[in-house]
């Protein structure tokens, strides 16, 4: 990337706020708030009861606290759990009816919803605070029988599917944040790909937090029926604010026989300022189940934002011969912290998993890879390959690798490789001697380091992600 371009993007590019009138639920967390959310979403009775059950459960569970990055106690009664632009109250039927201010917001974020429909071949669902504001390409997808819509819409229109699968991978009893999400989730995406259908385009959801003191509780559910294929990508940004905002999402994936789900994340929530003030707490539960034989779930994440990133996108490899993959780049700069990795639970025979994790720390940041490879008694000939590489820039940052391996089957093969390195002065000198300045040299070396993961991203996003990697580390060397 050119130096001048870097100069321009030094600050967090997406830090603006949209001045738009919003409808908010009163502050606080109680049964009435949950009823309010359920009512405004016009949910059926069962959904409300499900939420209330989760809420009841929440009263008896405690926030986990084993993670490496600690944070000040969150006052859950002081948060808003629902915020929506007023103009979305009567839901627009198509893009032309969407509030121009929202269209403009997404255009500023590089997601031109209107042209999007015509130009690029990617279907987008845009989620603003607690509601979905627009979904593109609906018609084309419907022709193939693919359902791609806000989950709030799916709860009304595809109630049977949602009822059957919601909470089937992440039960409401899972852990504190998953339970909290189950009680108060507001929007997110729902995808159903019918048997034998290969989704003809990338599906993408763009999450934006705008309102202050608001938690965002995204819920996404993707079901790939037998022999189907879908590639899904999510992107995230938020305005610059002094406070810490909570994003606690639940994402569930279900893959049946011979189906494949590819889930990519480019997470660029506001990371806080240089001194560590503000930023998003990104506490997310992502889990997929390879329910059928020969199914495959692949997670790719590029995590560059957030004050704290705490997530372990996982695969339950239930079907025989199923495959789980996890490709991750986690970049922490300034005072950012990350504790991320994956869990690969091998249940079926001949199940395979692959974990490639690249952690980069700069400034005062702290980056932890934490992963679990669990091979059950029946998972004969299961295979896992794990590679964790950490790169340190400067001497005030930290990198940690915490791999857990549980193997209960003697025919399984588990491999773990890990490296920790610093950007080598001699490598920089070599690049400099070939005419590359410091920024170009760092960018080249970092992109080389991340290459295996960047390659996994859909083409359109790989370029974007590469730029993001450059920007996130801007000024951290030399």
């Amino acid at each position: 990337m050119k130096y001048q371009e870097l100069e321009k993007t030094k600050e967090y590019k997406y830090g603006f706020t949209t001045d738009i009138e919003s409808v908010k639920a009163p502050r606080g967390l109680n049964k009435d708030i949950i009823r309010f959310i359920s009512k405004i979403k016009k949910e059926p009775e069962w959904m409300l009861n499900w939420r209330l059950k989760a809420y009841a459960r929440l009263q008896s569970v405690k926030e986990p606290n084993w993670q490496k990055p600690k944070y000040p106690k969150i006052n859950y009664q002081n948060l808003y759990y629902y915020s929506a632009p007023k103009s979305v109250k009567n839901k627009p039927k198509n893009i032309d009816e969407v509030d121009p201010k929202l269209i403009e917001t997404y255009a500023k974020l590089g997601i031109p919803l209107k042209e999007q429909e015509k130009l690029s071949g990617i279907a987008v669902d845009a989620v603003f605070d607690s509601v979905s504001v627009a979904t593109t390409f609906k018609k084309k997808l419907t022709e193939k029988g693919i359902i791609f819509c806000p989950i709030s819409e799916a709860i009304q229109k595809h109630s049977d599917l949602v009822k059957k699968y919601l909470g089937s991978v992440i039960p409401i009893t899972d852990h504190y944040f998953a339970t909290l999400n189950s009680a108060v989730f507001t929007d997110g995406s729902f995808v159903y790909v019918p048997e034998g259908v290969r989704c003809p385009m990338e599906l993408s959801t763009y999450f934006r937090i705008n309102a202050s003191q608001t938690g965002q509780f995204e819920r996404t559910l993707i079901i790939a029926d037998k022999g189907s294929y879908v590639s899904y990508l999510e992107g995230c940004t938020a305005p610059m604010r002094d406070e810490n905002q909570l994003h606690a999402a639940n994402v569930e994936l279900v893959a049946f026989d011979d189906a494949e789900i590819k889930y990519s994340t480019v997470q660029n929530w506001y990371p806080g300022d240089k001194d560590g003030k503000g930023g998003i707490y990104n506490f997310v539960t992502k889990r997929g189940v390879c329910r059928g034989k020969n199914s495959k779930i692949s997670w790719t994440q590029v995590e560059t934002g957030s004050a704290i990133t705490w997530k372990y996108p996982s695969c339950i490899l239930q079907g025989d011969n199923s495959v789980g993959e996890f490709y991750s780049i986690a970049i922490t700069n300034n005072h950012q912290k990350a504790d991320t990795g994956t869990k690969m639970i091998h249940l079926g025979k001949n199940t395979k998993s692959k974990i490639i994790s690249k952690g980069i720390s700069a400034g005062h940041a702290d980056n932890t890879y934490r992963g679990l490879v669990d091979i059950s008694k029946n998972a004969s000939r299961a295979r896992n390959y794990t590679q964790c590489d950490s790169l340190l820039m400067g001497n005030k940052c930290g990198a940690h690798t915490v791999p857990y391996i549980k193997n209960k089957n003697s025919s399984a093969i588990v491999e773990h490789e890990a490296t920790t390195s610093k950007i080598n002065e001699d490598q920089l000198y070599y690049c400099n001697q070939r005419g590359l300045d410091q920024e170009e040299a760092v960018s080249l070396i970092i992109n080389g380091f991340c290459k295996e993961v960047l390659q996994q991203l859909p083409m359109e996003f790989a370029v974007e992600a590469q730029k993001l990697v450059d920007i996130s580390l801007e000024g951290s060397v030399g």
Partner: protein, 244 residues
């Protein structure tokens, strides 16, 4: 082109180069020979602008002092160093690295960036000229390269970047005779009235293939003897000790 006057270089308070004078004119090829620890590689590093040295004396390139010029600017002005130990950069495609490098140098000169097609053509031309297998260019930069491949890659870069002053830091050491010929070919085919070379070597062997205009013997941080190519043969016969 290059003018070094009374150069003194220390690292960690230890003086390595102790008053070195050397002038290289356009079109000249100078060989610097010397025993281990005489300061040969330090000289190459100082010329290319590596950090960490304390330097006094004059260091001029095309009439301008180099002392405050960072490494990449020196490279952009046409100083090239073929490394004794080329660095491995995992994940970076060699072709891509070369193109990025060439373009940053072209940009600094105010020239247009080279497009992919012309670049590929240039690469093809230079690899076949040198007799280097094109395949190494699609591999990660120097990763898993043999010693010979690394050195050949340095010479290929030199050919493509087309610098004014090329410094070869013991490029010949550890090479078999075929690789040595490729290196020599790379240098000889680049020689003309405008291009200058500083070839640092332990042995006279390389100088059988590359005929220097001048040979300098470096010992304990100073040039102790200068002559024409016969000097190299003399050194080979009698060793460095006699020259002190």
């Amino acid at each position: 082109m290059l003018e070094i006057k009374n150069l003194q270089v220390s690292i960690n308070n230890k003086q390595i180069i102790k008053g070195l004078n050397l002038t290289i004119k356009p079109g000249e090829l100078h060989a610097v020979m010397g025993p281990n620890g005489s300061g040969k590689s330090t000289l190459a590093n100082v010329l290319s602008g590596k950090n960490g040295y304390e330097i006094s004396g004059e260091l001029n390139f095309n009439g301008k002092s180099l002392k405050k010029i960072p490494t990449e600017k020196r490279a952009q002005r046409g100083i090239f160093l073929a490394f004794q130990y080329p660095l491995e950069i995992p994940g970076v495609n060699t072709n891509n690295f070369l193109k990025t490098s060439l373009n940053s140098i072209r940009k600094a000169k105010g020239e247009k960036e080279i497009d992919s097609l012309s670049f590929l053509k240039l690469v093809k031309e230079k690899t076949s000229e040198l007799g280097i297998d094109e395949k190494i260019l699609s591999r990660q930069l120097n990763v898993g390269f043999s010693g010979g491949e690394k050195k050949k890659n340095e010479i290929l870069q030199m050919k493509i970047l087309d610098p004014n002053l090329s410094i070869l830091d013991e490029t010949d050491s550890g090479l078999d005779i075929d690789a040595l010929r490729i290196i020599a070919k790379g240098v000889n085919s680049s020689r003309n009235k405008k291009k200058s070379f500083l070839v640092i070597t332990h042995y006279q062997r390389l100088l059988d293939y590359i005929k220097p205009d001048f040979v300098h013997v470096l010992s304990d941080g100073k040039i102790v003897k200068t002559g024409c190519s016969e000097l190299a043969e003399e050194v080979e016969k009698t060793g460095y000790k006699k020259l002190n």
